[in-house]
């Protein structure tokens, strides 16, 4: 279980406990958090699970694969240095406390 915070563009946030194994994307889906669409079901193809990792984050996240990097070139909301695909972020105890910001739009 890991506590993940999803911060909405309007400043409100949803904090949920996400069971392991799951991804940060799946954590949003199972809690019906508006703002993560995940149309491709987590196979790093659609870019509709885009999130911004909180600037202050010090938790270990996996390196980005080439396909994730490529998909992030065309997300609906602008790509920033802290952009990630939430379907490529596995939930583990190590990322307990992660804060992600949801973009204005996914498509």
């Amino acid at each position: 279980m890991a506590k993940i915070t999803y911060r909405h563009p309007n400043g409100t946030e949803t904090v949920v406990d996400v069971p392991v194994p799951n991804t940060v994307m799946r954590g949003a889906k199972i809690n019906n958090i508006d703002g993560i669409e995940a149309q491709c079901g987590g196979s790093a193809q659609c870019g509709t699970c885009h999130v911004y990792i909180d600037e202050a984050n010090a938790l270990p996240l996996p390196e980005m694969h080439e396909s994730e990097d490529d998909v992030l070139y065309g997300t609906a909301a602008p790509r920033r240095a802290n952009s990630r695909l939430s379907c490529q972020l596995p939930v583990s105890e190590e990322i307990d406390g992660l804060v992600v910001h949801l973009p204005e739009t996914q498509s």
């Binding site: 019906n32 508006d34 079901g41 790093a44 193809q45 070139y73 065309g74 997300t75 498509s107």
Partner: protein
Amino acid sequence: MAAPSVVVIGAGQAGSDTAAALRSQGFGGRITLVGAEGVLPYQRPPLSKQFLAGTRSSTDLALRPASFHTAQDIEFVGQDPAVRLDRAGARVLLASGRSLGYQHLVLALGARPRRLTVPGAGLDGVLTLRTLTDAGRLRDGMRDAGHLLVIGGGFVGLEVAATARAAGLEVTVVEAGARLLARSVSGAMSAHLLAEHRAHGVRVLLSREVTALRGDGAGHVREAELDGGERIAADLVVVGIGALPEVGPAADAGLAVDDGILVDAFLRTSDPAVHAVGDCARFPGPHTGRPVRLESVQNAADQARCVAATLCGNPRPYAALPWFWTEQYGLRLQIAGLGDGHDRVLTVGDPSTGRFSLLCYRGRQLLATESVNQPADHMITRRLMGAGGPLPAPEEAARPGFGFKAFQQAASV
């Protein structure tokens, strides 16, 4: 006054997403999600890919866990298909005899495989692929089969062919048309996929038809006869000759139907209390100027969000950009836009590297980008098309060295 209530019929991608989006967009009334299948709503794309290959189990296909429905106060009714709509009384009758009153009804009925009508089509071992049950049957059949015959060179058929080939079966694909995926991709992409399948050892026959299937004494399929009389061994057959929209209860209730339930730009049927979304709906294509019916996760998911917005009091016409993906062997094809009607195809990148995009133009207008293992091209096309441009002009895309990443950067959008 009773709390407003929405009944969603069909618990697939579009139905499940509609119920979820209603809640996440703030709908406070009753939501009932009615499905014909006995399982929680699940993702279909893996059925012909990872599930068939055995790398994903049925449990991780669920779109949302059972607990989701309780937590979101969505009543999920499984295995109880709607059999009749009583529009005058605003009620739906289910097979079990249960009757549900509604204020708004959303039809998300999906589609069903077109059946083969040749002699022998009813033999054991002749399968179609739409549901998890179908996929389980096919996966079991693949265990003992030596020769798989795929009838129809569409997406589902080709994905099954690729998965079966990777599992070591002998595979033949028979396609009646002159090329693979004729309705969905450019001629150049058809040719690329044909070469790919042949390189993997699949026998692909074009402009050929199966005229009969023959079985053994036990009624199990053993061979197929083609036009011209050729016979080919087949102890497993997958019929992938397209899908027909599921319209049953809608047509019976007098809603306008024409190869799909007809809806307006707000996805409303001819009855303002009834909407239709996903594979079963034919809608005015904002990008085509004519009514279209699409079979894709994108279309189901985006229409679900759109109809939920309408029912939450924020109506907006449906305008999402169509996109699609398929995976065959290690090849990932992604299509942004709708290419039909193109008169020119430009290649960006080198197809011999297995990474390239085909740009389909009509005149100077980019209609679609077909990307093979080039997700950035796909994503950038989607983003620019969605934003209304700018898109590369044909002479620009034809220039040696053209690349989408640099184009996007130069356009700084």
